[in-house]
Symmetry: C2
Subunit: 230 residues, 2 copies
């Protein structure tokens, strides 16, 4: 990918987009640009954080390994999204590992650069808090889903989030493979398969990585209904 294109994507990221031009230039000029292959590790849990990461292309997953090797996917990021803000600024170990799940380009902003800029201008702190709050919010939403919805309902919501429209019909591409979707939604691949089958009567057709939704409103109704009143 052309470097100029990369910079343009970085400028649109939640982390940078509200910063004054001058600071953005400083950050971009000190950033490290790297490509990763599918399956490559970006950083490991317990490693000390030395940078903030901005995804420019491809998909990155954050996950935690339990003592016994089972993995829990915490989040999945793509173009324009950043992660590691709160950790990098405090020189503490990452609570999660990061891995490229597709070939991808990532920009790394070394934390000392960010820190020194932050002492100059408090706006930077606000921007970082904005990005961190977005993560906090998405974790809270995920927690709510896990605690209050069945597997099929979580799948339904996942599909709804891929749709742009509020109602009517819709065709979407599944953004990454089903094993990862299952992990992200806290279920096994087999359960995801079955959840898809259960959504068929609700007007959802899955073919490869392509999904056809015939009635968005109906699907939303299914996702939001209390499981007890079905």
């Amino acid at each position: 990918m052309a470097h100029e294109t990369q910079k343009a994507i970085a400028r649109q990221s939640l982390l940078l987009k509200s910063l004054p031009e001058q600071h953005v230039e400083t950050l971009l000029s000190h950033a490290i640009w790297r490509s990763y292959d599918r399956g490559e590790t970006i950083f490991l849990q317990e490693e000390e954080a030395k940078a903030v990461h901005v995804v420019l292309a491809g998909w990155v997953k954050l996950f935690r390994m339990s003592a016994t090797g089972s993995e829990a996917v915490v989040s999945v990021f793509t173009r324009g999204e950043s992660f590691g803000e709160a950790v990098a600024l405090r020189n503490v170990p990452y609570p999660v590992s990061a891995e490229a799940v597709s070939p991808c380009d990532v920009m790394h902003i070394p934390s000392p650069v960010l820190l020194s800029l932050m002492r100059e201008d408090a706006e930077i702190g606000i921007s970082i808090l904005a990005a961190t709050f977005a993560h906090l919010h998405s974790l809270v939403a995920q927690l709510e889903q896990l605690k209050a919805q069945t597997g099929s309902q979580r799948v339904a919501e996942f599909l709804l989030n891929l749709c742009d429209d509020e109602s009517g019909a819709c065709d979407v591409e599944l953004p990454y493979d089903k094993m990862l979707i299952a992990g992200r939604l806290g279920m096994k691949p087999e359960s995801l398969s079955r959840a898809f089958s259960r959504l068929k009567p609700m007007g959802v057709k899955i073919n490869r990585n392509h999904a056809k939704i015939s009635d968005i409103s109906a699907l939303r109704g299914y996702a939001e209904n209390d499981p007890s009143e079905k």
Copy 2:
């Protein structure tokens, strides 16, 4: 509670403890001090955040209500813990509601005070990020538990977190009632009851709000084992 005692507790909070004395004084002098009864609402989801909250005594739960009225407990805070940092500084709506689950004292720091101080001294931003990161971390840990452990294992870990020792035996008090513990662990009260019974053979005795653990290491082993290899 005496006001001086309250201030002493506030000073020890994660949010304030690493700030220079002068800033702490400013914040304390602008803070609002309030008491809440059990069941009283501190703020509601979707309400606009106008302050950061520090618990001085008692217990506060943060939770989300789904469209249908089922509630998902996101976290439970007590003395010295703070919440709402990232939200207050951005004037966005709270993603959760907060309610006192026991009589409690809470200090509110109006966000404008925090914001103006932050523009003076970037250290404040770092302190806020520290507190925010702690929340982020605890949410990630909770997500991992929900995705990778059975109910009984989560209960075991909950008990272990109440113990001070690393091994041997231990007696602990359950910090709040079982309905809330169940909510916090993402299960129904009935399931919590059964989880406790299942822990009996592992040397856990529950009597009212009192728990006796005969072998911490054994319990830890149970909590950390892959469910598949039982």
